[in-house]
């Protein structure tokens, strides 16, 4: 029998777990019969204790932030406002590009298995592994003003150094592999049989994708989008190399630290949290609002 159980395994991927979204969905019947869980009770005290400790560890730096912020002199440095605008606008652009190009790739990887598949896996892993600073250097050596692709594109009017497009490019490169891997796991969790049934019911492959694959993968896709957003918005190393200007929040945090000091960092950091948090949070809530049983 095909039930929600099969569909949501996508969220068990380690990458989806990195994400802040609640990714292990309640399974049918589970949790509704506490009487059946008695065997777990003796250990639950210990695991609750460890969980509390882990959460405390996780929260410690942010609790610290609340204390070290000088609330009486809370103010912004010059250019903080434009950094927020730059980060938000370009991250949205990068996210749109990532979804537009990454979704078809993720679906294709989930549905086709071919010889040499490990090469594609290795490529995705390579993109994940590259330290952000090194990624920036690689991008500069490819798309820089004197580099192969860079000089050609510049002739066509697209400058990929210290420009808006360069900023978006750096974010795109750093967040795309996370999105593709998480989205692939989401699509792999959709039973192929359901897509095929949609075909036998007269739907084209495209309609089957929209009406079956997407809704059934939506929890995992929401996690993938949230992950990509967080990665893109927080990207520092790659952006620093190829797009020192226009300055987004992460680079501006660094500049403020260098030029002014810690007191100029914290207010901008608070704003960063404020603008970065809503999208992943809302995605998580929206994805789980429609029940799936």
């Amino acid at each position: 029998m095909v039930t929600a159980r099969h569909v949501e395994t996508a969220c068990d991927s380690p990458l989806a777990a990195i994400c802040a979204l609640p990714t292990s969905p309640r399974k049918q019947g589970e949790g509704s019969h506490p009487a059946n869980m008695t065997s777990a009770v003796p250990r639950s005290g210990l695991s609750a204790l460890i969980s509390a400790l882990t959460l405390l560890l996780l929260a410690a730096p942010f609790i610290g932030l609340a204390f070290v912020t000088s609330w009486s002199h809370f103010g912004f440095a010059d250019g903080d406002g434009s950094a927020i605008a730059v980060s938000l606008c370009y991250s949205v652009l990068a996210l749109i590009l990532i979804i537009a190009l990454g979704t078809p790739l993720a679906w294709w990887l989930a549905r086709h298995h071919m010889r040499g598949q490990w090469l594609i896996d290795a490529l995705l892993l390579l993109a994940l592994l590259t330290p952000p600073l090194a990624l920036g250097l690689l991008l500069a050596s490819m798309y820089g003003p004197y580099a192969l692709a860079g000089s050609l594109l510049e002739r066509a009017g697209l400058t990929l150094t210290n420009s808006g497009p360069a900023f978006v490019m750096a974010q795109f490169y750093s967040a795309l592999p996370y999105y593709v891997i998480a989205a692939r796991a989401a699509f792999e969790g959709v039973p192929r049989e359901l897509e095929q049934i949609a075909l036998t019911l007269g739907h084209s492959p495209w309609r089957s994708f929209v009406h079956v694959s997407l809704p059934l993968a939506r929890l995992g896709l929401a996690a993938a989008i949230a992950l990509a957003w967080v990665r893109a918005l927080g990207e520092f190393g790659a952006v620093l190399i190829v797009a020192y200007y226009p300055q987004g929040i992460p680079v501006k945090l660094w500049v403020n630290l260098q030029n002014i000091g810690l007191n100029a960092v914290y207010p901008l950091l608070w704003v960063f949290f404020l603008v970065a948090m809503p999208l992943p949070l809302i995605l998580g809530l929206a994805a789980r609002r429609r029940r799936l049983i």
């Binding site: 569909v7 095929q196 075909l199 036998t200 019911l201 739907h203 084209s204 059934l216 029940r291 049983i293």
Partner: protein
């Protein structure tokens, strides 16, 4: 409707037969029956008629896979309406649910429905597409054994009512028994076609008898002295074989076997021991150990079974088929 399909991969298979009313293709697991249904639905590469060469979305088939594959994110009426377009889709879906007696469950999600209920929703969903042919993969496999016969009766009633030819593939002899037409498959070949009555009365060979769920179907050998050798010579019965000698499949109706007292020293009585009593209403099927093998013997529930029991197999009741090695 004439089915003629040839599949090359992953197994080679060629099947030609007519589907009339509720037709059951009976075969063991691994024969490629499900594959044949998928080929007709256009989900696996194959050549054949009807619908040859068409994309799956253009084939007018209603396909019910094993487990029914209802969409878990849609409720019952949304599942049925999946194949429908336009403003009237909800009303049409409700009508279809009503016809399969599931109107009361329109708002329920598949995970909360029983196997039989899911099957009816899946049937309504398949019918919404206005198919020329229904394809059912192991329709009895996900059913509760207690309600199974009723669910099958309901299903067949509905298929007849809608008047669409249906092809069900199964290894379940119970389903085969209620078909309008029965097609037997063995070794990736169609071995026998007919009504369940004809086929059950005269299975074409031992494999067919086994598929039909007949009890007491065994391998043996007929020697030159008109004796049936069973279990490599451990047991032998007289048999009516005119001139043939060689390897055979043989079978005997449990009702034809006679239970006798071993002390009576009757001719050709084989001593046995009772292993299991399978009570079925007023009769009981006794599973008796006979050498290394087991025979099923039908008896009245109140029939006295001697302490030291033996069986006699009447010559005229033993069916046998030559076996090609």
């Amino acid at each position: 409707m004439r089915i003629d399909y040839r599949i090359e991969h992953p197994v080679a298979l060629h099947a030609t037969f007519d589907v009339e009313g509720f037709t059951v293709l009976l075969g063991a697991s691994g024969e490629g029956k499900s594959l044949l249904l998928r080929a007709i639905a256009g989900l696996t590469p194959a050549q054949g008629e009807p619908f040859g060469g068409m994309a799956p979305q253009h084939r007018a088939v209603g396909y019910l896979p094993q487990g029914y594959a209802l969409f878990p994110h849609l409720n019952a009426w949304q599942n049925v309406a999946f194949a429908l377009r336009g403003a009237q889709r909800r009303a049409q879906a409700s009508q279809l649910l009503e016809r399969v007696h599931m109107a009361a469950f329109a708002e329920r999600y598949p995970g909360t429905l029983s196997g039989g209920q899911q099957q009816r929703v899946a049937l309504a969903r398949a019918l919404a597409r206005r198919p020329q042919l229904l394809l059912l993969d192991e329709p009895t496999s996900a059913l509760d054994p207690v309600t199974r016969d009723d669910v099958i009766a309901e299903l067949i009633g509905e298929v007849h009512e809608f008047g669409i030819p249906a092809l069900a593939v199964s290894h379940d002899p119970h389903l085969a028994a209620v078909a309008d037409r029965l097609v037997l498959m063995h070794g990736r070949h169609i071995i026998q076609i007919g009504s369940p009555g004809e086929v059950n009365a005269n299975p074409i060979d031992g494999s067919a008898a086994r598929l039909l769920g007949h009890r007491n179907v065994y391998r043996g050998r007929i020697d030159g002295a008109r004796r049936l050798i069973w279990q490599d010579g451990a047991i032998a019965f007289p048999i009516d074989s005119d001139t043939f000698a060689g390897d055979v499949d043989w079978a005997i109706d449990p009702e034809a076997i006679r239970l006798v007292d071993a002390h009576d020293d009757l001719p050709d009585a084989v001593p046995v021991s009772v292993e299991v009593r399978h009570v079925m209403g007023r009769t009981v099927q006794l599973g008796v150990r006979c050498g290394q093998g087991r025979l099923w013997v039908s008896a009245a529930v109140d029939q006295a079974v001697p302490e030291s029991v033996a069986v006699q197999l009447p010559v005229e009741a033993i069916h046998w088929w030559k076996r090609n090695s």
